[in-house]
């Protein structure tokens, strides 16, 4: 495969598409599929034929606005329809070329206008299982460009220059990680793509793998060329069956086109990818635990150093990056590191995908430039808190992050910005809570999660989270004391300082941040025996008769 051949494929796809007057893209991500968008697609195709319209109905990945699903986008007019049912197919098809069906139209300009799509540039525009669709949108151009015109060091230089940082949450500079693996001694090296999106409330990786899997495979191949690896693994959660099946199909397609396998692009470079299924352990998102899991063992973390970059999978130098990190690679190589670095804030470059959920009008997936204010994401893109309720907090970073109150909503979204207010960027979950959520109960929910998911290897995490859970349960039941709060605070710092891996080190964050910003709610539970949000069931102490 050469760049000229890519061009030929792209031209033929474009020529094929040009035959039609209209294209109707139907979202078939997990969210819309659960509302039978597959039936919608069939109905639309049938109506096209029945009404003799020259239109093409395409299955695509996620369009982002899950709240308004099932969604369909009519091109070239760019009309977005929401809450479409199979029964509406006739009306939509009949309207092609004329006035759109007003009552079905989704007109959320402010939701889309503020977004910048890099990772999601193809989501909702291509059929995820058709490699030619991806190629027609500049797919695999970056890989062939790197193989033919760049040295491995040149690739790493571009990545370093882009300022890209790990999108799994840690924020480690990607270029630095790549050059460490490239410099590590040894002939056999591995690439691992971390798709163990265990963080509840986050679904960016699932969506990327469902909507545009080739982009991740291309990113991995470029990384393999840069660091000198020839074998890669994608570790995906078994809970994401659609992502697994689409990825499997895409790997087959890439091999068929000669973009995976031996001598890719007629160069000496060979690379192939295998899928490994996760089995429901949150701790496997931690890189050393993930490696243990791929090796077929219990997913328990190991102390670092040695870092996987030096000694990882089967003791070989291993590069582990998140799905979203790999999804950023191809555009960086295509357009240059400088282009990427021109977006974002000073120390956090590019864009970030967030899963916006909870008590917010426009739930779904959004991609915004780094540095954008939280307020803008929640109030403008997210459409604010619905049903007349009042915003209380936004939780970022999942069980490892914190709850950010209204007063701090003008914080810019960046690794350092979120850290400074006691939360973390995390993988990109953003859960909005309103006045019907009890923050003590939320803290208890997260600690319960960490307690169950603790692998049990180190005591601070195993025993600490259990003790914290007991204390929080007591406070929620109205049986806590102010000493409990002090003890809780104390335990938080012990677990944070002494745990072996990221799970334990960040587990206290939800408690610490709620103690800091919502201390009054703790006091209400303890002193006045009442839950301001009315969530916790507190039994009033019975008057003891003398």
């Amino acid at each position: 495969m050469t760049i000229e051949e890519l061009d030929q494929i792209a031209d033929s796809v474009r020529a094929e598409n040009a035959k039609y007057d209209h294209e109707i893209n139907v979202c078939m991500g997990t969210g819309c599929l659960s509302q039978h968008s597959d039936r919608l697609k069939d109905a639309l195709a049938k109506e096209c034929e029945a009404q003799g319209k020259n239109a093409f109905v395409r299955r695509t990945g996620c369009m982002g606005l899950c709240a308004a699903g099932p969604l369909a986008l009519v091109d070239p007019e760019e009309i977005l329809y929401q809450h479409l049912k199979a029964d509406n197919a006739g009306a939509v098809i009949a309207s092609l070329g004329g006035e759109p069906v007003k009552e079905l139209q989704c007109d959320l300009r402010e939701h889309f206008d503020q977004q910048v799509h890099v990772v999601l540039e193809n989501s909702g525009h291509i059929d995820p299982e058709k490699i030619d669709d991806y190629i027609a949108r500049d797919g695999y151009r970056a890989l062939l460009l790197a193989l033919n015109d760049m040295t491995p060091n040149g690739v790493i230089r571009q990545i370093t220059e882009s300022g890209l940082r790990g999108r799994g949450g840690g924020g480690y500079p990607t270029g630095l990680k790549w050059s460490t693996v490239a410099k590590a001694a040894g002939d056999v090296k591995y690439i691992i793509c971390n798709g163990d999106e265990g963080d509840p409330g986050a679904f960016m990786d699932r969506s990327v793998l469902e909507s545009d899997p080739q982009r991740v495979i291309e990113g991995m191949a470029i990384a393999a060329y840069a660091v000198g690896a020839s074998k890669g693994y994608v570790y995906v959660r078994a809970e994401y069956p659609l992502a697994v099946s689409r990825l499997t199909a895409c790997l087959r397609e890439a091999r068929r086109r000669g973009l995976l396998g031996n001598n890719i692009g007629n160069t000496p470079f060979s690379f192939d990818v295998e899928i490994r299924l996760g089995a429901g352990a949150f701790v496997c998102g931690e890189e050393t635990a993930l490696i243990a899991s791929i090796e077929g063992r219990r997913g328990m973390p190991k102390p670092r150093p040695p870092y996987p970059a030096v000694s990882g999978l089967w003791g070989k130098p291993t590069l582990i990056n998140n799905v979203e990190t790999f999804a950023n690679i191809a555009p960086i190589i295509r357009k240059g590191g400088k282009w990427f670095a021109s977006m974002g804030s000073e120390r956090s470059k590019g864009t970030k995908v967030f899963a916006l959920t909870g008590k917010i009008a426009n739930t779904g997936l959004v991609e915004v430039p780094m540095g954008i204010k939280l307020r803008e994401i929640i109030e403008v893109i997210g459409g604010g808190v619905p049903d007349g309720h009042k915003f209380k907090a936004v939780q970022t970073g999942g069980p490892s992050g914190g709850c950010i109150p209204e007063a701090l909503l003008d914080t810019g979204v960046s690794y350092d910005g979120l850290m400074s207010v006691g939360s973390i960027m995390g993988s990109g979950g953003m859960i909005v809570m309103d006045d019907t959520s009890c923050m003590v109960n939320v803290a208890r929910f997260f600690i319960e999660f960490c307690m169950t998911e603790s692998c049990g290897k180190c005591i601070p995490c195993r025993a600490g989270t259990a003790q914290m859970h007991t204390l929080l349960t007591r406070i929620c039941a109205g049986q806590g004391t102010m000493e409990d709060v002090e003890l809780l605070q104390d335990l938080c710092s012990t677990v944070k300082e002494a745990s072996l891996c990221g799970l334990g080190q960040t587990a206290p964050n939800p408690v610490l941040s709620t103690l800091k910003y919502f201390r009054d709610e703790y006091i209400e539970h303890i002193v006045h025996k009442r839950c301001p949000a009315g969530v916790c069931k507190i039994e009033k102490p019975q008057e003891v008769l003398a």
Partner: protein, 177 residues
């Protein structure tokens, strides 16, 4: 233990014969296929267990023993892996399974009330199956459909924006089947 012996005497390379299939049930051939595809390597343990669970619905002692012997993994290690990962189940599932997502987004939207209602209707705690073997009640840690919260999986099929009444109706339909 075996592997320690092999590494001590490097010249002694015994020919390994995998154990016979536990029965002529065709599903064992699928399980064996996964192991063969991975060259009976020890690291194929989790992959193989996934195949067993998707073919049989759960992992029983016989299956764990067979996989461990075939891959030359100590039984203790195989059992340790099975019990470490939440996805693996040691008990056969009911005829139908209602899985309620208890991820953060679903929790914020009141999924705990769904769990309580289902527990009360079925008379079993989450993670168990009704006595007549008809319905299993499970919870999941986020299925990644947070935009449609709260969500449940009815026999694996995702249903979003679930309300209590609708879920109970489904349980009722399954119960009288």
């Amino acid at each position: 233990m075996l592997c320690a012996m092999f590494s001590l005497e490097e010249e002694f390379v015994p020919v390994f014969t995998p154990p016979p299939l536990p029965s002529d049930d065709k599903r064992w051939k699928i399980v064996n296929g996964t192991m063969r595809k991975n060259g009976f390597a020890r690291h194929a343990l989790i992959e193989t267990l996934h195949t067993v669970q998707s073919s049989f619905g759960y992992l029983d002692d016989e299956a764990i023993r067979f996989v461990a012997l075939s891959l030359r993994v100590p039984l203790s290690q195989a059992y340790g892996v099975v019990t470490f990962y939440h996805y693996f189940s040691l008990k056969p599932p009911g005829k139908h399974t209602m899985t309620i997502c208890t991820g953060t987004a679903c929790y914020i939207k009141g999924t705990d009330k769904l769990v309580a209602a289902a527990e009360q209707r079925l008379g079993i705690p989450q993670g168990q199956t009704t006595k007549d073997g008809k319905i299993s009640l499970m919870t999941a840690r986020c299925v990644g459909a947070c935009g449609r919260a709260p969500v449940v999986l009815e026999d694996g099929e995702l249903r979003g924006q679930m309300v209590e009444g609708e879920m109970l109706e489904q349980l009722e339909r399954w119960a009288v089947e």
